[in-house]
């Protein structure tokens, strides 16, 4: 049903671009969309594909960019990491797209990275990630750890008075790196090792009984305890359900999650979860006209009154608008020209502020902490006073604290070591 609709929409977008083709003398700008439409990640990524189609459709209604229409090229990497690289190659070499919006998991990004660098493409990556990477060809519109994890921990420590920490995550690169950063950060802040409990679970873990009971035990030592959760995707639903069933109240042990958004909550009865927290740079509940317009457009596009928006969708919204501005500024879609033009570009975000592309290819974002409500939405309880610039290299990891990234000439380096004064060369030297 949805597929049919999308085909129809895609066709109408195509028809539109074809009919205007005679008016616009030039070829269309080809926008590659590299999101899984099948396999395990389809749950998260297919929404992003639709978001991109909606944004492109809207831009075409407004006359495209510099008089050129946009043409989406959708491929399906099927949640298969090596296939991501192949599909990226197909987009760049065969379809000759001008820009790619895509990827969700870090491992898929790592798989695409060499291809994009080799063929000198542009990739906009919309999901919060572990940092420790900066590529000349990639623009990171999701949050780096200092734009999500660190402020969230600060909030728990200063505003809630948390003294004991459970770092729970799914067993892969993003949670492991983030937890490493957080562990160092907490220890720097004077938290004793016995007050930190670290726990990893496999993808899609569904039997949370003994872990939740351990957390309960860990939290009953008389000190205020919180869970910092980097548990990914599906596994969250049974985790939260078990929390509810074992009677862990947000008032006793709050859980702050970095991977749970409106879309994940739309799969659960949120009644028992009220008060648990999430840290993002955007919430659907943000009270702002730009946001309401975006939601209305999204609901209209999907035809589903209950459709939700989430943080990575906002990241694509920002990334797409930045690309549009950069092409306008450069007057061409030439990759090198756009790369130079986009640094410093500012576009409105959906939370009432502006996002700016920094020289390290990360953007500025506000950090919001929200509490889950019974209608599956978040109510913002805390936000940073101003936007925070994304830091590619964490200051809390020994391998990366001296590194900076600046893709402006003359430095033009993704991992410049300020102590030794040398450029590391490749995009991701630090082990991760």
């Amino acid at each position: 049903m949805t597929i049919k609709k999308h085909v129809k929409l895609g066709l109408s977008a195509l028809a539109l671009s074809v009919s205007l083709h005679t008016v616009a003398a030039e070829d269309p700008i080809k926008v590659g969309i590299l999101h899984s439409l099948s396999g395990t990640m389809a749950i998260s990524e297919s929404t992003l594909k639709d978001t991109m189609l909606m944004l492109i459709e809207k831009q075409n209604e407004e006359g495209g960019i510099n008089g050129r229409m946009l043409e989406p090229v959708v491929v399906d990497p099927a949640s298969n990491w090596p296939l991501f690289a192949e599909k990226a190659r197909e987009l760049l070499a065969k379809e000759k797209v001008d820009v790619i919006f895509g990827n969700w998991t870090s491992v898929s990004r790592k798989s695409v990275l060499p291809v994009v660098e080799e063929l000198n493409g542009l990739l906009f990556y919309p999901v919060q990630y572990e940092g420790e990477e900066s590529s000349e060809n990639v623009f990171y519109t999701g949050a780096a750890p200092n734009q999500q994890a660190i402020p969230a921990v600060d909030y728990l420590m200063n505003d809630i008075g948390v003294e004991r920490w459970v770092l729970a995550g799914t067993d892969y690169v993003y949670p492991r790196t983030t937890n490493k950063i957080l562990e160092t950060y907490l220890k720097d802040k004077g938290v004793a090792a016995e007050d930190i409990m670290i726990n990893y679970t496999p993808f899609g873990h569904s039997n949370w009984q003994s872990i939740v009971s351990d957390i309960k035990k860990f939290g009953s030592a008389g000190k205020k305890t919180a869970v910092v959760s980097t548990i990914n995707g599906d596994a969250n639903v049974p985790f939260y359900r078990e929390l509810g069933n074992q009677g862990i109240d947000a008032a006793d042990i709050p859980v702050v999650a970095f991977s749970v958004g409106e879309q994940e909550l739309s799969g659960i009865d949120t009644g028992p979860l009220v008060g648990h927290l999430a840290a993002w740079n955007y919430f659907m509940s943000v009270d702002n006209d730009a946001n309401y317009d975006f939601i209305d457009a999204w609901v209209g596009y999907t035809g589903n009154e209950e459709a939700v928006t989430n943080d990575p969708m906002e990241a694509h919204y920002i990334g797409f608008n930045m690309y549009v501005e950069a092409v306008k500024k450069a007057g061409t879609t030439d990759v090198d020209a756009v790369k130079d033009a986009i640094i410093g570009v500012s576009v409105p975000n959906l939370t009432g502020g502006y996002a700016t592309m920094m020289p390290n290819h990360h953007i500025t974002k506000p950090v919001l902490i929200g509490e889950i409500q019974d209608n599956g939405q978040f109510s913002v309880v805390w936000e940073t006073a101003s936007t925070v610039a994304g830091d590619a290299w964490s200051d809390f990891l020994p391998g990366s604290k001296d590194l900076i990234s600046d893709w402006r000439k003359p430095l033009f380096c993704g991992n410049f070591n300020v102590v030794s004064g040398t450029c590391g060369g490749k995009s991701d030297v630090a082990s991760n």
Partner: protein
């Protein structure tokens, strides 16, 4: 932890003033003022405003505070009117006036400013409501309120508590209040006589108080506390053991449910059906579909899903058997590949026809929450139902295999197909029915799993490996073996998990099975006699 710091005034207000002047009203402009103050103050100031509202004596105070705690107290941006939100889904919300109680119909979300609340305030609100509830005529309410007071009693409340205790009729509430008071006495006053009350208590606040007392400078207190702690530790150990056993049984019963259908198709018929997981998924989606058909009655829908899930999965299984498996009889490798293809097709079918997103299956009220055995041990209800369901399904299946004509024929065909056919048994029909039965049971597993895990296109994948593991470990073709294997693997996994972590526990279990299979290649209960040579 001093949850309710300002309980002092509150208690006086709620317990003394409120009942006396319950009818007292603040006039509407004052009410508007109070709510404006609540809306416009910072989180820190909001606390005072909440207390002012509670002490206003207005009978609307409770609904206001309750709505505020639920994030449902809001202000209309354009008119400045305060409302209580009745329905907060979608783009238009239904609201009623907080002051007059008039229903204002639907208002666009853009125009509604919810008054923000956070955990700290919610705690405060809970405290206020629980003190009010101590006067509730309902014993359940009083008990919940009394339990909530443990660890949050302050000086003023402590002075009044003995009165409450004396007036209380229910023993349970009385005991809870006594304990709450004793915690306060040990924690704040270092009262040795109160330690005895806490001895053997499993409440975490009581334990925290005793732990603190153990380190006190007063040797008498420290010794008494240490002794009390010892008895608590003893009880806790028992609790832990019981809990682990329960966790193990519940994980085991999930494994049994997922594997028992496979025990029939793979174990009895010898068909390697990689689409078994997707049949489970179909059962889970049937539950979701039923709940969509019967909105507002999740319990009834769940019960109806049991036969429906069985039928849907059984029909799907029969379709697979007719179209694919029967043509590949005796070619296990090709069957494996073909059914793996079927599983991918089914997954993608669900993705495109329904949605790639997980579906919400509502847990009926009678299945959520937990049963409290004692204060340190509560058993989750949904898991308990799943354990029971698994046993019932197992018993039913045993009955079919042992006592019915179908069971007899199935056993005959699987033991010696040619002989059975020459005895007049229609082998093809038996094949269809057996596969349908195994698939149907997978559907039943799906109905149960919809209550404890995600209902999404990937549901089946997470169970297929586990299912094969259980069947092989238990001994192919033996239902008792499947039951025992499932339960023991579940228990071993849960025993290992606390100290090895979830990832390592899984690996260890796998290694264990490999070693076991080396020793006994035919599993726990190997088939004996001629069937074994199959």
């Amino acid at each position: 932890m001093g949850i309710i710091r300002s309980l002092s005034q509150l208690l006086l207000v709620c317990c003394l003033i409120l009942p006396a002047v319950a009818a007292a009203q603040v006039d509407d402009s004052e009410a508007q003022q109070l709510l404006t103050a609540l809306a416009e103050s910072s989180f820190k100031e909001k606390k005072d405003v909440v207390n002012r509202i509670a002490s206003s004596g207005d009978e609307r105070a409770r609904p206001w505070l309750e709505a505020y705690g639920d994030n449902k107290l809001a202000r209309i941006e354009s008119s400045g009117e305060f409302v209580i939100v009745l329905k907060n889904r979608g783009r238009d919300w239904t609201v009623e006036s907080a002051i007059t109680g008039d229903n204002l119909g639907e208002i666009s979300r853009r125009d509604i400013d919810t008054i923000r609340v956070n955990n700290a305030l919610r705690n405060e609100l809970e405290g206020i409501l629980s003190v009010i509830d101590l006067k509730s005529p309902d014993e359940e309410n009083r008990l919940t309120a009394a339990r909530a007071l443990k660890g949050s009693v302050d000086d003023t409340l402590a002075e009044r508590l003995p009165e409450f205790i004396a007036a209380e009729e229910s023993d349970a509430v009385q005991a809870a209040l006594t304990e709450a008071l004793a915690i306060y006495r040990v924690e704040e006053q270092g009262d040795v006589s109160a330690v005895a009350t806490l001895s053997g208590s499993l409440n975490s606040e009581a334990r925290a108080a005793l732990q603190q007392a153990q380190n006190s400078d007063d040797p008498a207190l420290a010794a008494a506390a240490a002794k009390a702690m010892e008895s608590i530790e003893q009880k806790l150990k028992m609790n832990r053991a019981a809990e682990t056993l329960y966790f193990g049984l519940s994980l085991g019963s999930v494994l049994v449910l997922a594997a028992i259908g496979l025990a029939i198709t793979f174990g009895v018929m010898g068909v390697i059906n990689m689409a078994h997981g997707e049949l489970i998924m179909l059962g889970a989606y049937t539950t979701w579909g039923m709940q969509q058909l019967l909105p507002g009655q999740p319990g009834l829908a769940l019960i109806l899903s049991i036969p429906a899930g069985f039928l849907v999965a059984a029909l799907a299984g029969i379709a697979i058997e007719r179209t694919v498996i029967q043509h590949l009889k005796g070619r296990p490798l090709e069957t494996l590949l073909a059914t793996f293809g079927v599983s991918l097709i089914l997954q993608q079918l669900v993705r495109t026809v329904i949605s790639p997103l997980n579906r919400t299956v509502i847990t009926p009220d009678w299945m959520s929450g937990s049963v409290m055995i004692n204060e340190g041990l509560s058993l989750t209800l949904n898991r308990m139902y799943v354990i029971g369901f698994a046993l019932v399904v197992f018993a039913g299946l045993m009955l079919i295999m042992r006592k019915t004509r179908l069971g007899l024929e199935v056993r005959a065909v699987t033991q010696n197909r040619a002989m059975a056919r020459s005895m007049g048994i229609k082998a093809t029909k038996v094949d269809i029915l057996t596969f349908g039965l195994g698939s149907g049971v997978a559907g039943l597993a799906g109905v149960a799993l919809s209550q404890i895990t995600n209902v999404g296109p990937n549901l089946g994948q997470s169970y297929i490996i586990d299912s094969f593991m259980v069947v092989v470990f238990g001994g192919v073709g033996n239902l008792w073996g499947t039951l025992l294997a499932g339960l023991s693997l579940g228990t071993i996994n849960q025993l290992l998990e606390p100290w090895a972590g979830a990832v390592l526990a899984k690996i260890l279990v796998l290694v264990l099975i490999i070693l076991f299979i080396q020793k006994r290649p035919r599993g726990l209960f190997p088939q004996k006699g001629r069937a074994a040579e199959g």
